[in-house]
């Protein structure tokens, strides 16, 4: 009798344990994957049934956010905001070389510093990855991302279908960036959109199809160029849509649709001559935060079994922005319905940008910023120079969506109201103090000398397609800085600094399109390596010429 009760009780306990395993919400049974797909330079009004039919057809089974905005005017701060959940004021990424702190995210609103969300995911067993070599640049340091440079997007995902390990993948579709070079099957008859016989107009359009940057003032665009500009840029989005269609077919057929949160958005938008330029901060060097730059598409797909997390929503008009995305992803991964993206709260939006982003001429001393705040339909643009506000522009978006009529003089009360929180955010923004920190660390070490490249040389794509590693002499434990100048004068010039720990800096594989569109146009790259904060400890300049 006793034995029967004893074994019956054991069986009961075992059954309860089994039931608990099946139903426990935090168990390993449901570790969803995440794909964050960002599309370069894609403004919200570009996404229409005639330009992105595959994307919009897929969106019928997901969430469509119709009032989503960027937090800055160029790629890095927007991408890092998406990856961390911080806004651009907290990130402090305003120029080449700026990056997050090494140990933890910057503290926000008096809260203690936290680990980046991607690092937390990695510690919990997710494979957190990006596959593209450009993700190795400093701006993406310390986000928790591991760059598996050279991996191909679909084959990498296929590998995860096979091994069934949870992953977070960020992929940035680049072919919608300047130069606008759609494949022949997508190329529109842009010449027909220009005044007949206007060869100067053709040359202007050919410039945006040839150059990765078109600094403000370098090309005298005319309003009649706009249709052709829009046509060639939208053709690159049609090409993306065809690519997305192939991805979506694989996404469904492979079963990833059932196990993955998919987020599709843009890093930022693009100006199509609304203010006289074509491009965005890093390419025009005249950055701003008008709607064509900050108003973006956002689509989210949750696995069909997680319908309750969608809260019955489909099309969301409430305002959202990039820093809502990662906290929402983390909430969904933890099976919580309280995601910021679906809270439907009317909340103000703020953003900040340097004027030239990645192409800031003096990255360590950025003097001019544009910030903006949108509240109750009114949008204030406020320019700062040397820490002081110098200009205001105020627009009412409901009646003036193109932001053409400045009402700052008419409504000083609103300017004051919107400026106050903006000034506070600007004053409290994170400011990177790289040189001061590094100078304190570098002491009296000798100047380094180049080992590779040992002298001036020419390189072809085939020489570096598997990756290239710069090497120099010195102290393996020290930090170094590489100063570079790209271009040969004219409109295409880029300069900046990269940090390195130890005696080498590796750059992963790049593809032929990236070499053709973003490296070859500059022609020449000069580099020197030195110790941070030490003007007397630089190597000689070495010059590398890019050949096809």
């Amino acid at each position: 009798m006793y034995r029967r009760w004893f074994f019956a009780s054991l069986l009961g306990l075992a059954a309860m344990a089994a039931a608990a395993t099946a139903w426990w919400p935090g168990g390993d049974a449901r570790r969803l994957n995440v794909i964050l797909l960002t599309v370069e330079s894609t403004r919200a009004d570009m996404v229409r049934p005639d330009t992105a039919p595959n994307l919009l057809r897929a969106a019928e089974s997901g969430l469509h956010f119709r009032n989503h905005r960027a937090v800055s005017a160029w790629t890095a701060p927007n991408a890092v905001s998406l990856l961390t959940g911080l806004d651009a004021f907290a990130l402090g990424i305003h120029a080449a070389g700026d990056s997050l702190p090494r140990i933890a995210l910057p503290p926000v609103d008096g809260k203690a510093a936290e680990d980046p969300p991607l690092r937390k995911l990695s510690e919990r067993g997710w494979r957190v990855a990006g596959l593209q070599a450009f993700m190795l640049i400093d701006q993406f340091n310390n986000t928790g991302l591991t760059v598996e440079s050279g991996g191909e997007f679909l084959p990498w995902l296929a590998g995860r279908v096979v091994d069934r390990k949870p992953f977070f993948l960020w992929h940035h579709y680049l072919e919608t960036h300047l130069p606008y070079g759609p494949a022949p099957e997508f190329m529109p008859d842009w010449r027909a959109l220009l005044p007949p016989g206007d060869t100067a107009a053709r040359q202007r359009i050919e410039t945006i199809m040839r150059q990765p940057a078109v600094p403000a003032g370098s090309v005298a665009f005319k309003p009649t160029d706009r249709d052709a500009v829009v046509a060639v840029h939208e053709a690159t989005l049609r090409q993306f849509d065809a690519w997305f269609g192939r991805f979506w077919d694989f996404f469904q057929a492979s079963g990833l649709r059932d196990t993955t949160i998919l987020v599709v958005t843009a890093d930022h938008g693009e100006e199509h001559l609304e203010r006289g330029d074509v491009g965005h901060a890093s390419t025009t060097h005249r950055g701003h935060l008008y709607e064509e730059i900050v108003r973006l598409p956002l689509f989210v797909w949750l696995p069909p079994d997680e319908k309750r997390l969608e809260r019955g929503l489909r099309s969301i008009q409430a305002p959202t922005h990039h820093s809502d995305v990662m906290p929402s992803i983390m909430a969904w991964l933890e099976q919580r319905r309280s995601a910021p993206l679906t809270r439907l709260a009317e909340k103000p939006w703020q953003a900040i940008t340097s004027l030239a982003g990645f192409a800031e001429p003096d990255p360590l001393h950025v003097r001019e910023f544009v910030a903006a705040r949108l509240e109750a339909g009114w949008k204030l643009h406020r320019r700062y120079r040397d820490e002081k506000p110098v200009e205001n522009r105020l627009y009412h978006l409901a009646t003036d969506p193109g932001e053409t009529t400045d009402r700052a003089a008419e409504r000083p009360d609103l300017v004051e109201k919107l400026a106050k929180p903006l000034d506070a955010a600007f004053a409290n923004r994170r400011q990177v103090r790289r040189e001061a920190e590094a100078a304190a660390l570098s002491g009296n070490a000798a100047a380094p000398a180049w080992i590779f490249p040992a002298g001036n040389r020419a390189v072809r794509f085939a020489d570096i397609r598997d990756g290239i590693t710069l090497r120099w002499s010195g102290d393996p434990a020290a930090r170094y800085v590489i100063e570079y100048q790209a271009g040969e004068g004219g409109a295409l010039r880029l300069q900046g600094r990269l940090e390195a720990q130890g005696l080498e800096k590796a750059f992963g594989r790049i593809d032929a399109t990236y070499w053709r569109d973003y490296v070859l146009p500059y022609g020449r790259l000069r580099m020197r390596v030195g110790l941070p904060g030490r003007d007397d400890a630089w190597s000689e300049w070495v010059e590398v010429r890019a050949l096809p």
């Binding site: 309860m16 099946a22 191909e152 296929a158 279908v161 492979s254 085939a462 020489d463 598997d466």
Partner: protein, 122 residues
């Protein structure tokens, strides 16, 4: 009454066992080996991976042939050569380890001249 009271604990335990194993069975029904779509999904994934590997292999073979054509001394090498132990990877491995430091050229153009007199391959 007495009989019912005596049966009650047994009924309770039976109900617990049923609920517990029922939950476990429900979980098992959703296990990967019970997913009838899984074989097709795996086949698709493996096909995508195989096609990528083939693309990379073809590109690698073309570049290797160009390198061996350009540098007969490397082509004849027992380790890095056409018939060497590293197979088609031999050419690129030679370039990585020695060729780039010797001024040899790695690339698709078989007619491109060497940029300097190469040292004897190691």
């Amino acid at each position: 009454m007495t009989k019912t009271r005596a049966m009650a604990p047994r009924i309770a335990i039976a109900a617990l066992l049923l609920a517990g194993f029922g939950s476990y069975a429900w979980g098992a029904l959703h296990a990967p080996w019970m997913d009838s779509n899984r074989p097709a999904q795996l086949q698709l994934a493996r096909q995508v991976i195989k096609e990528a590997d083939q693309r990379n292999d073809m590109a690698e073979r073309r570049l290797a042939e160009d390198y061996w054509t350009r540098y007969p001394d490397v082509a004849a090498d027992a380790y890095f050569g056409r018939n060497g132990k590293l197979g088609i990877q031999g050419a690129h491995e030679h370039y990585r380890r020695h060729g780039r430091h010797e001024g040899r050229v790695w690339g698709p153009d078989a007619d491109a001249p060497a940029t300097s007199e190469p040292a004897k391959s190691k």
